[in-house]
Subunit: 200 residues, 2 copies
């Protein structure tokens, strides 16, 4: 059976960089936005719409193009969301069958539970996440720290709701992961080096 | 500055074995019950009583030998408990100054926060913890699984209360640790091997 690592992460915790670098170091495939594109192909929905579905709160989402009455819209939207979720599950399983890989987000830890993935969750203090976001913007003052804080909280709330909607588990709850890593004040590259040593 | 590792652990998660083996592998000092004995010496209280204080719910504890009125008992008990906590803090700091070390429980992650310890929390599913306790008893049927489950829950509740009483933080909350390791179905020796590689 292939080795599967799933990575959940708080926004600004460096989880995405961690996942990409870890995949490079271990020589594993890395899947993130690529998954969305695959889903788009499989469901004949636009990539933009699929991205909206997988990144937003599913219960708040309405279809882009159609809808006569509210109940009809609701029903149709729910069907689309469900079909995207099932397509996503199917693709994740296909990818898991193909090779060793690292998957970021997308409830992969839950969807692939039969594959016995190694489930990592990356988190950090709010201050550290704000600092990381500021650094990512090359220190430009386009957004205030207050705006960044609000954005981080919004995204994490969305991720939590999406995860909880489909898994019936609490997002970020340590019981759902094998390893939880606090990246507060750490350089992600250094964290990757030690975790790679651990997993090799 | 010496390297300090603090280990919080759920009862039955293998945290104590993990800490002892990790200390052996890394060549660090290891402190657990030894600390209690040191405290006993420093506070001129019996070892048994100190053990009762550091392992039980502090707000429920009454002194063993004296007490005329309830308020007097309460006051005296509180003073004793506080003095043990301060003695414990003092000893932990002295030990942290002496050499690289691993400390189990005792709010060490909080007390030694100025020493920037590497804070690990060890946990596991309830089923896995019950299995580990049964194995520890060499499979003897002295206690039923139901009794063991009740005991695990009781001890963890006590640990949580003790920790929260003194630190004003939630015990086991991943935000208070650098690394949280789920030992469900794992052999502790194997976990130690990978974490030691990571920390070396």
């Amino acid at each position: 059976m292939n080795k599967i690592i799933t990575i959940g992460r708080e926004f600004g915790s460096g989880g995405r960089e961690f996942a990409r670098r870890l995949a490079e170091t271990l020589g594993y495939e890395y899947y993130d936005n690529e998954i969305i594109m695959e889903i788009a192909k499989n469901t004949a929905l636009s990539e933009e719409y699929v991205r909206q579905v997988v990144e937003c709160e599913p219960h708040k989402l309405y279809p882009i193009t159609i809808g006569n009455s509210f109940s009809y819209v609701d029903n149709y939207a729910q069907q689309q969301i469900q079909s995207i979720y099932y397509a996503q599950s199917k693709i994740l399983k296909e990818l898991a069958e193909k090779s060793n890989c690292i998957m970021v987000g997308r409830c992969a830890d839950y969807i692939l539970r039969e594959y016995n993935p190694y489930r990592i969750f990356i988190y950090a203090s709010l201050d550290s996440k704000i600092k990381r976001c500021v650094a990512r913007n090359n220190g430009s003052e386009k957004y205030s720290e207050k705006e960044i804080k609000k954005y981080i909280e919004k995204i994490d709330k969305q991720r939590a709701k999406y995860y909880e909607h489909y898994t019936d588990q609490k997002w970020g709850n340590k019981e759902n992961y094998d390893l939880c890593i606090n990246t507060t004040n750490l350089v992600i590259k250094d964290v990757v080096d030690v975790v790679a040593k651990m997993l090799k």
